[in-house]
Symmetry: C3
Subunit: 281 residues, 3 copies
């Protein structure tokens, strides 16, 4: 799979870990160029069986990804439409497509992420933010619009109703510790530790079977959108999707036969065991 | 819009901010008078295009709003009904109606909120509570009933399942810091800072376009009740509802043409910019 | 109701409180014996009108409940199935059945809970964990499978999407404080305080009417799986289910007539009042 020809970010590959580094103009504006690049990136990731983890970071020391290009808003229709005729917006489609790629995705947030930039971060699987550098805001209510890249919908699934309403109605900046408290990120980290933390997490995940990563991920997204009885059926479906394609379970059985039973029985070793077993052929 | 004739609270208006101050008897009991007043308040707010934020507070230094009037429980039927025949209760209907008014609603909690009082707080958009003064409890399980003003349903949407089950099954008091930890409120504040905090938040929101406040709010409530694909359609629908009615986006374009491009490009100024732009005609 | 003949745990009864103590082999492995025992336990609890609270703990000082028996995984099919044909797995069925028993269930976590063991904990109503002793992990992604006892589905309902994805994709250990931060447990406690804390909570709940405990519990589970309008109907349905069967409301009315009006009016006494009223006949 070739990852070339992007204008708004660079792509680097280190075995199964891909790093996408936004670097576009002075503020990493989220315009047609970036949406087009992200759509093209998603199309390739959907077909990529080698890459298992994608880290999204920024080359800009102050800004992760800036808001949606206000130039594009100027051409926005001012007609109301019926619920049936409401077409999804470009930003919604791109964020949803990125959200469901088969890889584990991580936002490494070391600068501002506002408006559409923050909505993109919310579309990724996990979010880690650097204290003193990260700030987020949804400013749309002040512009006569609303977060329309999935941000309203994804926020409520992260924070619960009350905090999502506060964030979206107040249109104010929140820092990394606020974000942890509100639940929009997984964890706030010191600026000098976020790099190692994200790398270690990515490295760990990247050693697991690709089919299992995808099955786990799709399952979590499906589960929150269904009643528990239906969600359990989805679990079973994705389980067999994973086991029908991956040799990992068999590898685990071989490990067992090779004398790792003791470690399996010993609960203290699972954290290492789950890694050791990846190296058996 | 006239806000007169209420017996259980006073209404004060300061430009686009309304303050509702509960002041009824010794404990602000939630009886027919209060439900009737709240229903009447909601009916007016639904038609009010001037008011953008409503703060709910209490004149009683110890109690925000007390539980549902136990006198009313005495006449309660003891017949089981089928799922089809289960009629919504008055408290459910009033709380749901208050929950969806087009204004941003804030509970300023400086005293006890138990039973139906707490369910009313949960029906508002945001909740802030004063340390040392606020306590909440759902005591229904001890009375042979269950929280039946939307409290069971709204709790789970704020706290997740485990914490909602603890709160509702234990029927015990929790204070402001507990509430922050459990996720039933947005933030615990010191008693001497809650006033200014809520005022500043209300003032900020009150400067944004009314249609956009409503669109943002309805969208967040809808999003959590639908699968993501449907939720994204709701986002698009409410976006065009907002842009078809508000001049704010155009105002923003004018700001842009008037030379605020520099500020727009400069991510650091968004927090002020989103306010400045409200003053352009 | 007789609670005998279990091989993987002991059952003790202290009035309305039942304690289930896992004690099976060296690691409390979750094999056919335990699933069979849990299914049989659930069947009896569903018919038991005396027991109101069940505490699940372990006799093993290091392990609460260990992962699903890897022996059983070896016979697992490697055929993919359609969504329609995806049969629920034994672990899913048992956890779901335990989750919905009419009693309030509490996990008292003083050792490791990994894989299926952690999924069982997630199926209980409330979870309290001891600092320095508790650790949890979902290691399935490393084995080519996914958490398939409801863990993926229940995790998202506790923690929100981002944290569920981190836990399930990283397959790493988290301790009690991590668990509190991530939202998988209700509260982290010191090892010397968890016993008293859980006992007090169980004792409090056990004094409330059984029908009301069940109605509150079923309602919370239903509410998160339905749009708010439907959830409110469920509240009304379960309210009348409870009031049609329990004398508690009437008992409360008698209390009222006996001169507790003062206490009812006095918000400060509710926490005791709700207990006192249980003793009136």
């Amino acid at each position: 799979m070739k990852y070339e020809g992007f204008t708004t970010f660079k792509v680097e590959q280190d075995e199964a870990i891909m790093t996408v580094t936004f670097d576009f103009g002075s503020v990493n504006v989220q315009g047609q160029e970036m949406l087009s690049d992200l759509n093209s990136l998603a199309m390739r990731l959907e077909r990529d069986r080698e890459t298992k983890v994608v880290i999204f970071q920024s080359a800009n020391p102050e800004i992760w990804v800036c808001h949606y290009d206000t130039e594009l808003l100027k051409d926005m229709s001012d007609e109301a439409v019926s619920r049936e005729d409401a077409q999804l917006l470009d930003l919604q489609l791109v964020c949803e497509r990125i959200s469901k790629v088969p890889q584990a995705t991580i936002a490494k947030l070391e600068g501002f992420a506002r408006g559409g930039g923050h909505e993109l971060a919310l579309a990724l699987d996990m979010r880690f933010a650097a204290r003193g550098k990260y700030k987020f805001m949804q400013m749309e209510v002040g512009m006569g619009i609303l977060p329309c890249g999935g941000g309203a919908s994804r926020m409520a699934r992260q924070t619960g109703l009350g905090k999502a309403l506060e964030i979206i109605l107040s249109a104010q900046d929140y820092d990394a510790d606020d974000a942890e408290r509100l639940g929009t990120i997984n964890k706030a980290l010191n600026p000098d530790e976020i790099g190692e933390y994200v790398n270690n997490l990515a490295k760990r995940i990247s050693q697991f079977p690709a089919e299992s990563i995808n099955a786990c991920k799709q399952m979590v997204y499906e589960s929150i959108d269904q009643p528990i009885k239906e969600a359990l059926k989805s679990e079973a479906y994705w389980l067999y999707q994973a086991t029908s394609k991956t040799p990992a379970l068999k590898r685990f059985q071989i490990a067992d036969e090779q004398g790792l039973e003791h470690d399996i029985a010993n609960q203290r070793n699972w954290s290492n065991l789950v890694m050791d077993v990846q190296n058996i052929n």
